[in-house]
């Protein structure tokens, strides 16, 4: 068999992080290659490198025999790379056929496309994919699964030789997945190669020929799907032993401070859980499992359809974040820059912002108290800065995160929700954040920690609750902690077996 795509020694670094470390793998003509790995393993970075969305630092990519040291999106498209992203890129108000040929020239006049020709060719493509929808339908009338098909059709009319599909099954209902598989198989029969990215391991066995595993930005192994088991795959994905980088803490876990009862909302979402004083409860799950959504409901930013959130024995009908903060629930959001800090303002402005009302009299801020709060938290959280008058945007990621935590702590919050507390933070600062979290629970606060970092989850949590598609798929107590256990629950494998 001939190789249609070769990735050769590709490296990509972001400040502080090596996203891809000397990665090499290849795709053969007419095969379906699965690409798997934990969150942050480098899968999306590698597909972005192949599709030209980012510039890799070194190495090269060979597409259909031609070697590229640098790729732009248009170069990649011309070379025959098509991508179906998780977030679909369609124009909702245009018809299917117009979307399929968006940006393409149909007929001699670029400003006046020949719609008959467009329709004929669209129908032709849809037929080869075995789909029967009127190509004049507006895209906004379609289901997500159908929109995905339009994306695939878009790639097909551009004569793509390698189609990259980023978690195509994540956004569509189970019943439609088989249908999508059928289309992918048809493409394969036509000689198109497919790189299929998925968290659902069982799918690979049904659809794919070979599987490539990534871990921590490195290539681990490529195997034929026929001679490998799920357990092997999980072992490859995890690979390493847990290193002892998590400080020991000595916190007393006592009564329940937060209880979530039958919380429902946003379609298929139903959660029960309890958080105790002095506890770090880890919340695991894949992207889209509903973890961030749960956090936003608890902190009052998203309204649940039904169910109760009980804080210290009192039901909270949180109308807004203001109410939640009033009850002592503080969120350290995942999106630090856009939701956590006020980047353009100084440290001394940011830290007291949540406590301003408490330290004001007749609306006037007591600036002495504000400065006290600032200096206390700059000192105890060891925020490294030449001055509290420094604008937060000039701080490193780790110190920005500390400012967010300081802001939440200064408001006397008892329950802290950390959404991806160490994302984008370098190793040293990570350690400091962990110690800080330990100190907080030792002081009797409670932490709900959402994390996609497996080590962090296992190292920091007292208990782990795993979500899968909006529901609790399992709970692990400390003695039962294992990466395989979490991964099984997160991918929904265990549920299916049971």
């Amino acid at each position: 068999m001939t190789k249609i795509l070769e990735v050769k020694h590709v490296t990509k670094t972001y400040p502080g992080v090596v996203a891809l470390d000397d990665v090499s793998f290849d795709v053969e003509k007419g095969e379906i290659l699965a690409l798997i790995g934990e969150n942050g393993a480098g899968k999306s970075t590698v597909i972005k490198s192949i599709s030209g969305a980012i510039n890799f630092d070194s190495g090269s990519i060979v597409i259909d025999g031609k070697e590229y040291q640098k790729l732009t999106p248009s170069m990649a498209r011309e070379a025959g790379v098509g991508v179906v992203y998780q977030e679909l890129n369609l124009v909702p108000s245009l018809s299917i056929m117009e979307n399929i040929f968006l940006g393409e020239k149909i007929g001699p006049n670029p400003y006046c496309p020949q719609f008959d020709e467009m329709k004929r060719r669209s129908e032709e493509v849809m037929n080869t994919l075995g789909v029967k929808i009127d190509v004049k339908t507006q895209v906004q009338m379609l289901s997500t699964a159908q929109m995905q098909i339009v994306e695939i059709a878009k790639a097909v009319v551009q004569n793509c030789k390698v189609l990259i599909m980023d978690e195509p099954s994540a956004s569509i209902p189970m019943a439609e997945v088989e249908n999508m598989f059928e289309i992918v198989r048809k493409l394969k029969a036509k000689g198109v190669s497919v790189i299929y990215i998925s968290h659902r391991l069982e799918e690979l066995f049904e659809l794919c020929d070979r599987v490539t595993v990534f871990r921590d930005g490195r290539f681990v192994v490529t195997r034929n799907v026929a001679d490998i088991t799920k357990q092997d795959l999980i072992k490859y994905m995890i690979g390493r032993e847990l290193t002892e980088k998590f400080p020991v803490r000595n916190a007393k876990v006592s009564d329940t401070v937060l209880e979530v009862k039958d919380l429902c909302g946003n379609g298929d979402f139903h959660i029960n859980l309890q958080l105790h004083r002095g506890e770090i409860l880890g919340l695991a799950g894949l992207i889209g499992a509903g973890r961030t959504e749960l956090a936003k409901m608890i902190c009052g930013d998203v309204h649940p359809d039904s169910g109760e959130i009980i804080v210290n024995g009192k039901a909270m009908h949180a109308a807004s974040c203001a109410d939640a903060v009033e009850r002592g629930i503080g969120l350290v959001p995942e999106d630090r820059k856009n939701e956590g800090v006020f980047l353009g303002y100084t440290i001394e402005w940011n830290i007291p912002v949540m406590s301003l009302r408490k330290i004001s009299k007749f609306g006037f801020i007591n600036f002495r108290k504000a400065d006290e709060l600032t200096s206390t938290y700059v000192r105890t959280l060891e925020i490294k800065t030449p001055s509290v008058k420094q604008e937060v945007k000039n701080l490193s990621g780790g110190n920005q995160q500390k400012v967010v935590v300081a802001k939440v702590l200064a408001a006397d919050n008892e329950v802290l929700i950390f959404d991806e507390p160490t994302r984008g933070i370098d190793v040293g600062a990570k350690q400091e954040i962990y110690m800080l979290m330990n100190r907080l629970v030792e002081e009797g606060k409670s932490i709900l920690m959402i994390s996609s970092d497996m080590e962090e989850l296992l190292g920091m949590s007292d208990r782990i609750v795993v979500l899968h598609e909006g529901k609790v798929s399992g709970e692990l107590a400390k003695p039962q902690f294992s990466q395989a256990g979490v991964l099984e629950l997160a991918s929904g494998m265990k549920e299916e077996r049971a």
């Binding site: 807004s320 974040c321 203001a322 939701e339 956590g340 006020f342 353009g344 303002y345 949540m354 945007k393």
Partner: protein, 324 residues
């Protein structure tokens, strides 16, 4: 030296204002007389009072283009209440201000109902206000206002050129500066302008804040329209048309970013005064209102360019500092 440069940069509007005044003082006689300075302040008092509200909206990240006709319609309503209904002056003043507050709140209400930025809502409202103002006045000027009412805009105190309006402007400015600098309300306004999502998650009641801001803006706009109507002694639908551009440009000259989250009330005052002085100077040079539109629009574009340029430079500087 660095301190001087830093001071100038932070108070750019005041520095510009002083420079312009010096130029005016050298080219015209009797510019630097108490009477003339007070006269300039008096001419711009209603604008500056309105500016307090608009600056508040802009600092919180919004933009309101309805002030002009909102002032017109309030002035017209006040005039009608005085002449047609014969209501007493104090009552008319209070009702006019309340109507303006309601208009301000209406802007926020629509902002929420339509889920649109204030600028779009206010452009729509502005056109509606314009239409109503013309309809209820029959496109005519309403004059013959009682002397007691005119006194509000023309009456003086202590000095023959120091009007009540100027005094109100100064007091309003002091109060607003205080609120912005010393109260949590002021901080919340900047929080909204700096990062609305973070403000919401930090437990700031964004909706309530926006209503408060809308109402305060309406309040100042109401006072402005009463003063304007009283000073002119008559009201027409076109009286305050175009003031929104003057105020907007003035606030931008005063260093408030179009993106919100920054600025000082005092600098906005200087910004609007600059606009007023330039208009005055152009008038003296024989350039009419239409030339002034060209000047105002150009200044606005230059200021926005400067704002964008500064933003980019600051972002670059931040990145560099982080790398090192």
């Amino acid at each position: 030296m660095n301190k001087v440069i830093d001071f100038c940069r932070r108070n750019l509007a005041w520095v510009l204002l002083v420079l312009i005044m010096i130029v005016f003082g050298m080219t015209t006689n009797n510019f630097f007389t108490t009477a003339n300075i007070l006269n300039i302040l008096n001419q711009n008092a209603y604008l500056i009072i309105c500016t307090y509200g608009i600056a508040l909206i802009m600092m919180s990240g919004g933009l309101d283009m309805a002030v002009g006709y909102q002032m017109s319609i309030c002035g017209v309503l006040a005039a009608l209440m005085l002449t047609k209904l014969g209501l007493p002056t104090p009552l008319v003043v209070i009702v006019t201000i309340l109507i303006s507050v309601a208009f301000g709140a209406l802007g926020t209400l629509l902002e929420h109902l339509l889920q649109l930025p204030r600028i779009f809502v206010s452009i729509g409202l502005s056109t509606v206000y314009q239409g109503i103002a013309y309809v209820i006045t029959n496109s005519k000027t309403i004059s013959g206002l009682p002397d007691g009412f005119k006194e509000i805009g023309q009456g003086t105190i202590l000095h023959p050129s120091l009007t009540y309006a100027t005094l109100m402007m100064v007091i309003g400015g002091i109060i607003m500066s205080f609120i912005m600098d010393k109260t949590y309300f002021g901080r919340y306004v900047f929080a909204l302008g700096g990062n609305e999502a973070a403000a919401r998650l930090a437990g700031i009641n964004v909706k309530r804040m926006k209503y408060a801001i809308g109402c305060i803006a309406g309040f100042f706009c109401g006072i402005g329209s009463v003063i304007l109507t009283a000073r002119v002694g008559a009201a027409a639908a076109s009286t305050a048309a175009g003031t929104e551009i003057t105020i907007l440009t003035g606030v931008l000259v005063g260093g408030v970013s179009v993106r919100g989250g920054d600025g000082k009330i005092a600098n906005c005052i200087a910004g609007v005064l600059i606009m007023g002085l330039l208009a005055n100077g152009m008038q003296l040079a024989g350039l009419n209102t239409y030339y002034q539109y060209i000047a105002k629009g150009s200044i606005m574009l230059v200021v926005m360019w400067f704002d964008a340029f500064q933003m980019k430079r600051r972002a670059l500087a931040a990145n560099k500092r982080k790398e090192s």
